[in-house]
Amino acid sequence: MSKKIGVFVCHCGTNISATVDVEKVAEEAKKNNPGVSYTTTYKYMCSDPGQKLLRDKIKEEGLDGVVVAACSPKMHEHTFRNASKKAGMNPYHVEISNLREQCSWVHPDKPTGTEKSVDLVRMMTEKTRKDKSLNPIKVPVTKRALVIGGGIAGIQAALDIADAGHEVIMVEREASIGGHMAQLSETFPTLDCSQCIMTPKMVELAQNENITLYTWSEIEAVDGYLGNFDVKIRKKARSVDLDLCTGCSSCWQVCPSKKIKSEFDMGLGKRTAIYIPFPQAIPSKPVLDREHCLLFKDARKKNIPPNDSKVCRKCLDICPIAPVKAIDYTQEDEIITEKIGAIVVATGYKELDDISMYGEYGGGKYKDVITGLQFERLASASGPSEGEIQRPSDGKVPEIIVFIQCVGSRDPAKGCSYCSKTCCMYTAKHTMLYKHKVHHGHAYVFYIDIRCPGKGYEEFSLRAIEEEGATYLRGRVSRVYKKGDKLVVLGADTLTGSVVEIEADMVVLASAMKAQDDAEKFAQKLSIQYDKDKFFSEIHPKLKPVESSSAGIFLAGTCQGPKDIPETVAQAGAAASKVLALLSADELEREPVVAKVDRLPAPIFSTCIGCFYCQRVCPYGAIESEDIKARDGSTIKTVARVNEGLCQGCGLCAATCRSKSVELAGFNDEQVYAEINSVEFN
């Protein structure tokens, strides 16, 4: 039975009608095409009256196929499919002919635009003729979320999800949650103490009954799909039993290895081998650093089990927990598996700490050339100098301090072309913190642009200049070299065309926010996409900012790109709301535009020859293997099968399949050939 197809041509204001004779397109669609029983044009098809027109005509004319010639299907396919569904038609009989992005916007004159539009509409009419009814795929949902990363983004997302009543599992690879925000001294633009606003949230998370926290743990593998992920978590050996330990502090007070560079203090402070990263750590229970611990060093040297070494057991001896001590040298990594419905990735950023790539600034060469985060630790009351600004080399209070912005940002020659977004503001903050502590000191900032597009940000940066007296010099620094105990900074002030030479006591590099070192590997583990700078990619930069390229995996915070705390918290909230929307249903509906490997009656079973080329090209890991078995249980053949939960309908498998055994619903060969043929032979 041939279909009754309706063609609706949209003017899109003048977007289409200026370059395409829409009336002619509608007229031509009917010509020599008996299937097309109705055509019309309308100024704005996506508007409410436009959609009503579509619904009415489906009913009145008894249409069972619709071509809407309008904008890109990315824009409004969903809109028109919904409208036709309301009119009682299977929505997968609606096809969009893209007359705007792919025709009127790119063609200068009406005759060619119209001619191409006629072709485009005819192609879609032919495809529609072969459309089959499809029904949404239903998948069950595990009502539990996983949050990866325990910085401010992860904490916010976890709290939001947990507060709505769902279980959350948080995995943090460091010994404590808190992330970079816990390291900061004060926060812009309000200058409120970072610890004061961060630690209550950390405590709230630890006490929330819906949240299970795994610190000192990493994601081993993620399998499964939207609503049904299987996540393997590696709980790294902590050498401390978290259930037994009370965090009494005895062990780290007696530990003899006291000179290990503290990661939390960015190498400026020291810690012991058994340690908590910072006083407000959560959990406030220690971890044993096996690399630096004397006992483990000795055991490695002698190649004996750590428990047999007798070099130092001070922490174990002093541990007051009885009868079983909380410290356990024999603890090993443990892998646990959790069933998860949705995932929030909040793995954060890494400060550009390899400043030796800026040899011209003395990065990595001079002790008094430090990074932004190091300055935060210097200024922090919980830092190595208890908040006094002292230069690392000799503890002197710097009288002249120079801040260099855009170190590792906006520098294509060094392979980092993007703007790190936060440095302008944190440098302004640094000048204030400095001036508040060293009243007579001079602070100079070399900048290219001062970028402060946030609420209260412009005022904040002007305050640094006008009220606090920081001097801003417009130009990049070319070189920093040592002269006596001073650091000579060679820069420029392009506003006057001057060369600037400052003899400074300390130099602070506003280092860039970079993606985590293992971001690429991690993205591959999760089958999510990442950009040229290894930040994870959102699907749509404007309209889908927290959705990753894999369904059910959401992004929050700086793992997606540089951003400040307010923006991170907002994005974490957005990611949480997306997770909640998923977890609120018992079953999920998915677009049925997925691939399928054919299954035929015996004795063929499937034309699939089991070469699994499709598996190699699938970006989503959606191809599984299936053994077709005889009644006696013996395997007849092994063939490919598409996991509908994972498939995103990209069609790579269908294009790759050598035996033409894979078909993409809604885009099968017959339909695509019908489209092509309609152009060639007319």
């Binding site: 001079h442 001097t471 002030d493 006057t496 065309g497 600037v500 030479e501 400052i502 400074a504």
Partner: protein
Amino acid sequence: MKIKITTKELTSDFAKEVKERSGIDVKKCYQCGKCTAGCPVAYEMDYMPNQIIRFVQIGARKQALTSRTIWLCASCITCTTRCPKEVKIAELMDVLREMALEEGVANPMEKDITTFHEAFLNSVKKHGRISECGMIMEYKRKRPKAALKSALQDLSDGSHLMLKGKLSLAPHSIKGKDSIKRIFEKLG
């Protein structure tokens, strides 16, 4: 001309001094350049008006005080009127002129202008207001080269003005002459 700014300039109190003398806070300027964009004499200047402010900001005393710009400024106040940060730029030029004279570093290329300023003020000091002929005579006497250059134009313009009764040879006096004198005495 290459300018070099060092720690000495940057840590100097030039901007503070300017602020104390005039109340003008140059730190407020964010270097948008609107003053320069609207300045009717900027084309003649060695440094743009915004650069003069910048010199004060970064302590480049020498560049600011020896510039020709501060003398070329016609005090039309377009810059001050339009400045988005309400920096009184024209007034700043005045302060810089004063400082340049005090320190004896005024740009020698603009001696004509400084002499004219002097002649103007001397006339006011003497008569309470300017005596055009007296002022011109003093100026021409002190700057004979400039006098020669504009001699013909002065003759023709001067005679027109005199015929219309706009220019008298003898100085006019005003009522409060003594008060004016006292002002000058007070200011030294």
